[in-house]
C-alpha cells in the first residue's frame, strides 16, 4: 500500500451527496458527527468539496435530475475514491424503482464499494459501513481509475 492510500485510510474525508432522499439517511449521516457517535474520533471528516474528498457517500434514490450530477461528481473526485451507498434507496431504489422520475440505482451509475442498507440505517450501521470501506481500502481492492 502506497503512502497516499495509507494516509487516506487513516483519515478519510467524506463528501455527502443526496440524490433524492427523504432526509432520514442524511440526518443519520450527520448524526454520526454528533457526540453520541462522533466519527471524527476515527479521523472521518465531512469535506466541503468533492475535490478534497476520499469517500463519496451517496444517499437517495437517484432522480432524473440528479443522475448527471452524480456522474459528474464522481468524475471530479480524486482517485482512488470510495463510494458508499447509504440507505435502501441508494442500494436498490426499493419502491422508487417504479417512479417516473427515478433513474437507476447508484451502482449502475458509479461503482459502489460498500452498501449500507436500512431505512434509515442506524448510525451504528453507517459506522460499520465506514469501517468496512477502510478495510477494503487496506485490502487494496478499491476501484482505482
Amino acid at each position: 500500500m502506497n503512502l497516499a492510500l495509507r494516509a487516506l485510510a487513516r483519515s478519510p474525508w467524506v463528501f455527502h451527496l443526496s440524490t433524492g432522499s427523504c432526509n432520514n439517511c442524511d440526518i443519520e449521516v450527520l448524526d454520526c458527527l454528533t457526540p453520541r457517535f462522533d466519527v471524527e474520533r476515527f479521523g472521518i471528516l465531512l469535506a466541503p468539496s468533492i475535490r478534497h474528498a476520499d469517500v463519496l457517500l451517496v444517499t437517495g434514490s437517484v432522480t432524473r435530475q440528479s443522475v448527471i450530477r452524480l456522474r459528474r461528481l464522481y468524475e471530479q473526485a480524486p482517485k482512488p475514491c470510495l463510494v458508499i451507498a447509504v440507505g435502501t434507496c441508494a442500494c436498490s431504489q426499493h419502491f422508487f424503482r417504479e417512479s417516473y422520475h427515478s433513474a437507476e440505482p447508484v451502482d449502475r451509475i458509479v461503482p459502489v464499494d460498500v452498501y449500507v442498507p436500512g431505512c434509515p440505517p442506524k448510525p451504528e450501521a453507517i459506522i460499520v459501513g465506514a469501517v468496512k470501506a477502510i478495510a477494503k481500502l487496506r485490502g487494496g481492492s478499491v476501484h482505482v481509475g
Binding site: L17, P35, R36, P48, E98
Partner: protein, 394 residues
Amino acid sequence: MKTKIPIGPYHPLMEEPESFLLDVDGDRITGIDVRLSYNHRGIEKLSEGRTFEQVPFIVERICGICSNSHPYAYVLAFEDLAGIQVPERAQYIRTIVAELERIHSHFLWIGLAGHFLGYNTVFMWAWKHREDILDAFEAISGNRQNYAVMCPGGVRWDIDDDARRLIAEKIDAIEPKARLFLKAICDDPVLHARLRGVGVLPKEDAIAYGALGPTARASGLAIDVRRDHPYGAYDRVEWDVCVEGGCDVLAKAMVRARENIESIRIIRQCLRDLPPGPIRVEPEEAPAGEGIGHVEAPRGECFHYVRSDGGNRPIRHKVRAPTFMNLPTCQVTVPGMTLADTTIVLAAIDPCYCCTERTVVVRRDGSRVGWGDLVRLSREKTERLCREIRRPER
C-alpha cells in the same frame, strides 16, 4: 457591481440538494430564484399503485423529519373519506407521537441554526439531546425514524406502561435543555444582534404567500391546525399557540423554542390521560369519494387529499407539504439582506426540500459560491458581532 450567485444544489452541511440563484449588487441581494426538481421522486404517482394500507409507508418516506406528519395527514384524509371513528386511545397515542416528532424536529432546527451562525456547540448539544427522543421512538415503534405508527383506523404500536415511563423519563430529561435554549434565544445579545430585523416577513406577505406553521406564527399570524381544525387529542389537553410579532428570524426561533415547551406540556397531559381501550379499528372497504386530511407538522400545515373509486387503492393522492408554501416567502425575506445573512434567512423557514418536491435533487455548474462559503461568511459576521458586543464591557 451586479452579479449572479448560484447556491447549491450540493453543499457540505445542508443535507438536501436545492438550488438558489441570487442576484447580488455588491454585498446586497436584490433577487432570488429557486430551482427544485433535484428531490422529486413522484410519490403521488407511486401512491396510486398501492393499497390504502400500504400508502402510509410510502408517504412516510416523503420526508424523514416529518415521517409522522405525512402518514398522519394521509390517515386523516382516508378516515374522512371512509367515515371511520378512531378509538380514543389511538387518538392520544397519535398526539404523543406527533408532539415527540415536533420536539425532535425543532431541536434539529436549533442545532442547524446554531451551526449556520457559527455556534457549533449549540449544534452538538441540540443534536445530542435529540437522541433521547429518537431512543424513545426506537423503543415504541422499533425505528429511530420512519416510525410506521399511523395506519388507517388507528395506530400500529401501543404505548404500554414501560413505554409510558420511558417517554416520561425522556421528556423530563429534555425539558431543562429546551428551557436552556429558550432562555438563550431570549437574552443572548449576540443572537439578538444577529437575528433581529433579519429576514423580515411582514404579516400581509405571510398571508399573501400562504405561509404556514412557525413561519406564519412568527409574523403574528395566529394559525395552527391543531387548534383551528382539531384532530387527535389536541382539543382535550391544555396548550397555547405560540405567536410572535417580530416577523424576523429571531421571532421564528422564539416560536420554535416555545413550541418545544408546549409540546412537552401536551405529551405530559396525554401520558397522564391515556385512556384504555383498543388502538385500532379494522377499516371497512373504502367507498368511492374523496377526503381531506391536514395536520400541523413541525414546519406547518401538511395537507393531503385522497380520492377513491371504491377500489382498494387511491386513484389520486395529493400531498402538499408545508415548505411548498413557506419556501416562496424567500422572495420577500431574502432581497435586501447581505450575503452573510442569507444562510440563516433561508434556514429560518426550516426548509424541507424532499417534502416540497415529494420526490427529487438539483445543481448548477460553472463557478459557484458554495453554501460552505456562505456559512463561513455567516460565522465571520457572528464573530465580529461577538467582539463588538464584548468590547464595551471591558
